[in-house]
């Protein structure tokens, strides 16, 4: 469940990152069009909210809040590192982590 929380947080931050035109250009070599930016922001925010749910599911209401914040820190840093050192693989990592997180959550619940 913690892996899922991290996967969702990373995907959320990746989406939010791509909603900024400078970073979108670094990853895709094009600027996002008018529809993409709010879509990415919405997806990103939703993913972070779902990560909150996963964290609560993992450790309960009290510890889960702390876990969510800590996972967000790790996910934010991971996004920055990917963007700086492997921008073309930013999205691929999210696509890989999400099924991994879902699998881990299903196997351990």
């Amino acid at each position: 469940m913690i892996v899922l929380a991290f996967a969702l947080s990373y995907a959320g931050f990746a989406a939010l990152c791509l909603s900024l035109s400078r970073h979108h250009r670094e990853v895709f070599d094009t600027t996002p069009n008018e529809r993409r930016t709010p879509l990415l922001r919405g997806l990103g925010g939703s993913a972070l909210a779902l990560a909150f749910g996963a964290a609560i599911a993992a450790d309960g209401w009290q510890v889960g809040v702390v876990l969510w914040i800590a996972v967000l820190t790790a996910a934010a840093l991971s996004t920055v590192l990917m963007l700086s050192y492997a921008p073309k693989r930013l999205v691929a990592l999210a696509s890989g982590l999400l099924p991994l997180g879902l699998l881990a959550a299903l196997l351990t619940s």
């Binding site: 900024l20 309960g60 510890v63 914040i69 800590a70």
Partner: protein, 538 residues
């Protein structure tokens, strides 16, 4: 003064950060390392046995009570630590000898034994005397070589200034959302600023929490006016006595057999659930008025330990409810968040990451200060005294303190186990090594100082698992096979740290190679020559 609110805050951020940065780096490093103090305690006592097969707590209580009754029936107190969690792979018992009349309470004067869970026999040898990881942890608020009250005031002062630094940092950071993901490597000053910003923002909730809650620990030291108005200045002990009524047991009036502790454990497990008992503390065993305190395993909620008190002769549950209040509960949560005892394995590592990021935030800020103010190589000025001082303090603190900590662990393995006061000398070794790094930093040109100290840190940490192999039988070859992940984890973490320092040293070496080429190009244009040994990279 500066015009404009933001410039004013920027000035404040720079100077508050600089003045307390080195002390706070020490606090963050010792605090972050000390977060694993129980693990390090075990690593620094290699005589203790590795994990033994787990058994249920009621049965363990039988074995423990039998051993304690045989070994220390007249002890002032007994402690039984059950297996479970990261702290206790073994069933351990300890006891405190009765105090002679007129003697104060001796800190740490206890005896510790680990018991085999099949037979109840004592296993392992008496562990060497050491401050362990606990001493490192305690240094982060108590420093060392200082009187307790003085150290707490120093750390508190620096922490309050850190709060100012954090808040002014937030105010000054103009594009805090737009630049959330911005990190441009290999661009000199810009990269250092980006790194400082990204690190600070990514763990900002943690930094605000850890700083503020740290102050809450000693709030009556820092803001005494409240209790002083009621009790008088300096009468803190009486205030605490009323706030946290401690039912000190009276002197024993006679002997009475202690009830079987296994029944107490079963009673507690009926309330909390099986496997939830982590520790038992018995006051005045075998006396009238004996009391059995049962502690719950942590992790259920963000509070500090839950506890059930039982009468030692009758087994009746005693009322231990302290007068609760919203203020006390709030404080309790804040302190629990700071200490992070409730955290499970994954969250524990995330806490560690956040603490390390705190040290990195301070380090990048200190380096940024020097990079921003380096005189241009084309100018004839030497670096000013203040700038040179900060550069050298940076090297000696940021790279030198890890060297000291590595030497602390080396000392644990190298100082003979039988030597008296060896625990004190382990700590002296830490500070001697750290002091030498100040001397080294003063004598070397800056970049070479960085290279040599980072390299030394890498070598020292990498050598620890090797030294472990040569001096004990708790090295990776044994611990990995046995599945003792705590002990193996310490060795592996040392290797990871060594790798990190080695990477940093390589980066400095690459920078050093760049500098002579740049200086040659600029030196041809400039009339003045830079002093030999002075390296001022752009």
């Amino acid at each position: 003064m500066k015009d404009g609110f933001r410039q004013c805050m920027a000035w404040l951020h720079t100077w508050t950060g600089l003045i307390v940065g080195w002390v706070l780096y020490f606090v963050f490093v010792t605090g972050t390392v000390g977060y694993f103090y129980t693990e390090l305690d075990r690593w620094m006592r290699p005589e203790l046995p590795m994990a033994t097969p787990a058994i249920a707590a009621p049965h363990a209580a039988v074995l423990a009570q039998r051993r304690l009754q045989e070994r220390a029936p007249q002890a002032e107190s007994w402690t039984i630590n059950f297996q479970g969690g990261r702290n206790n792979p073994n069933l351990t018992v300890s006891w405190r000898e009765p105090r002679k009349p007129g003697e104060g309470r001796r800190r740490g004067a206890g005896n510790l034994e680990a018991l085999d869970t099949q037979t109840g026999e004592v296993i392992g040898q008496p562990p060497r005397q050491t401050g362990g990881g606990f001493t490192l942890y305690r240094m982060h608020y108590q420093l060392h070589y200082f009187k307790y009250e003085t150290a707490v005031l120093i750390v508190g002062f620096c922490t309050m200034i850190m709060l100012v630094a954090i808040i002014t940092g937030i105010v000054t950071h103009k594009k805090i959302f737009k630049d959330f993901f911005t990190f441009r490597p290999a661009k000199g000053q810009r990269s250092w600023l980006d790194a400082h910003n990204v690190i600070s923002v990514a763990a900002l909730p943690f930094f605000l929490m850890i700083t503020y809650s740290g102050l809450v620990f000693f709030m009556f030291n820092y803001m005494p006016a409240g209790y002083a108005a009621v009790y008088g200045m300096g009468e803190r002990e009486q205030f605490y006595a009323e706030l946290y009524p401690r039912k000190e047991p009276a002197t024993p009036e006679g002997s009475a057999p202690l009830i079987p502790l296994s029944s107490v454990v079963q009673s507690a497990e009926a309330v909390w659930g099986a496997g939830q008992v982590s520790r038992i503390f018995v006051q005045m065993p075998n006396a009238v008025g004996a009391r059995v305190l049962v502690f719950r395993s942590e992790g259920a909620s963000v509070t500090r330990s839950e506890r059930l008190d039982y009468d030692g002769s009758s087994g009746a549950l005693l009322d231990n409810a302290e007068t609760g209040s919203a203020a006390k509960d709030t404080q309790d949560v804040m302190l629990a968040l700071h200490e992070g005892h409730f955290a499970g394995p994954s969250l524990r590592w995330l806490y560690f990451l956040s603490g390390a990021l705190g040290a990195a935030m301070i380090a990048t800020g200190l380096v940024l200060w020097t990079v921003k103010r380096r005189p241009q190589p084309s100018k004839a000025d030497k670096t000013s005294f203040g700038h040179g001082l900060v550069e050298r303090l940076n090297v000696a603190t940021i790279a030198g303190l890890p060297i000291g900590i590595a030497v602390y662990f080396h000392a644990n393995r190298l100082i003979p186990a039988q030597m008296p006061e060896r625990g004190d000398w382990e700590v002296h070794a830490l500070f001697i090594a750290w002091a030498l790094s100040f001397v080294h930093a003063a004598l070397r040109p800056t970049l070479r100082g960085w290279l040599e100290q980072l390299g030394a840190a890498a070598v020292l940490f990498a050598a620890l698992p090797v030294l472990n192999t040569l001096t004990t039988d708790r090295h990776l070859g044994v611990t990995l096979l046995h599945g003792d992940w705590v002990l193996a984890g310490v060795d592996l973490s040392m290797l990871a740290l060594a790798a990190a320092f080695a990477c940093a040293a390589l980066k400095v070496q690459r920078k050093r190679k760049q500098v002579p080429a740049m200086r040659r190009a600029k030196g041809k244009r400039a009339a003045a020559s830079t002093e030999i040994g002075q390296e001022t990279p752009a």
